[in-house]
């Protein structure tokens, strides 16, 4: 019995040790995660990164001795972001933009779409067939070289996704059968839901503003 107890304790210690090691990961070690033998042994989770960001913000608020460092990092960040925005804008305005894809939020579900895709939306209230609609909840737009991620949504001035309602039908019959043995409980539920089929006509991206 004592042996068993000891074994249990040992496993518990191991578990705790593993948790601790996973908590105290630094950002540099995260960069190396996913390469070589350590890819699966180390979970890519970092709490120290979060704490670091928090500390930075505290410094900013208190205007303590490390204010100069923060301002320097901010200016470099702004510079970097401007460079990225410029690069993306040149890509958008060039003819070599290529096919775009987007993640849209329709009727409670998120779908990844490109032009000429068709998607099924399970909803009862929707415009009639043939109407062209604009999908306004856009979470992400990507091309071959860049990706714009909304926080949580991209603004209407940046993206314009148009779709056509091509079909409004019913789903096939879905059966849900409940049975409890020896209790005389049998429930059969048959259900058809209303479905709308959308065709994505166009995805357009306008150049970003600073």
């Amino acid at each position: 019995m004592n042996v068993n107890l000891w074994r249990r304790c040992e496993t518990l210690f191991k578990h705790v040790a593993h948790c601790c090691s996973s908590i105290s990961k630094s950002p540099d070690s995260i960069r190396s995660v996913g390469c070589g033998r350590y890819a699966f042994s180390r979970p890519p989770v970092s709490y120290s990164v979060q704490r670091y960001i928090h500390l930075q913000s505290v410094c900013q608020a208190n205007k303590s001795q490390s204010v100069t460092d923060v301002s320097v990092s901010q200016s470099t960040d702004v510079k970097k972001s401007r460079e990225i925005v410029e690069a993306v804008n040149t890509q958008i305005n060039s003819e070599d933009l290529g096919r775009l894809f987007a993640v849209v939020h329709v009727a409670g579900f998120q779908r990844k779409v490109t032009v000429n895709d068709i998607i099924v939306v399970e909803t009862s209230s929707y415009p009639s067939v043939g109407t062209r609609i604009r999908l306004e909840k856009v979470l992400l737009v990507g091309s071959k070289d860049f990706t714009l991620v909304g926080r949580p949504l991209l603004s209407r001035s940046v993206v314009n996704i148009e779709a056509t309602v091509i079909e409004k039908t019913l789903s096939p019959m879905v059966l849900s059968f409940l049975m409890v043995r020896r209790r005389r409980v049998r429930k059969l539920r048959m259900q058809k839901t209303q479905q709308v089929v959308l065709l994505i006509n166009s995805i357009e991206v306008n150049s970003l503003e600073d």
Binding site: G34, R51, V174, V197
Partner: protein, 190 residues
Amino acid sequence: MSSRSLPATRLINVGQNGVGRYVCQLARITLRFCKHQASSRGMRDFVENYLVDFARSNPNVVVYVKPHRHRGASIQADYLNGNSHKTRVSKMDMDDICKWIELARTRSGVDIVRKTKNFQTHSPSIQGVWHPFLFKDPSVNLKTFPDSEYGRFEVNEVTATERILQLAERMKQLELEKGEGKSEKDGESV
């Protein structure tokens, strides 16, 4: 019966509908009913009140009205892809029949069966498939593991031992300064 055992198809867009303009896929609708029976009452009401409006608003749909003596009412919808679907609407009131006819009009004519996926795309990936070595330094390829650099354990914050060492150093410095000050003072006094 579970849905896995039932036949399934992919999502189909008949004739690339909506890529250019939308074309109503319903070609012909046949309304069958009896002129006398009570079960065809709803259908007769529909024919009296709404049928002309329906035909006017959908000029591309051919509407047949066929009275059948002592038969139940039904709707037969023929689609451009050659499929036809029949719905029995006897003992239904006019509102329900309106809904069934609207369903026949808005459908594409594809059989209603289970779909494997509720989306259809011809370009599943635009940025390429992600793998764990994407955007990684290619020098990793030539490394032999375990590697001291990649296996390095780093802590971003100052550890307790480091802090104690720092404090000890500071104390040493302070003591040195004190000692220097004393010696200087001694020198002055001497």
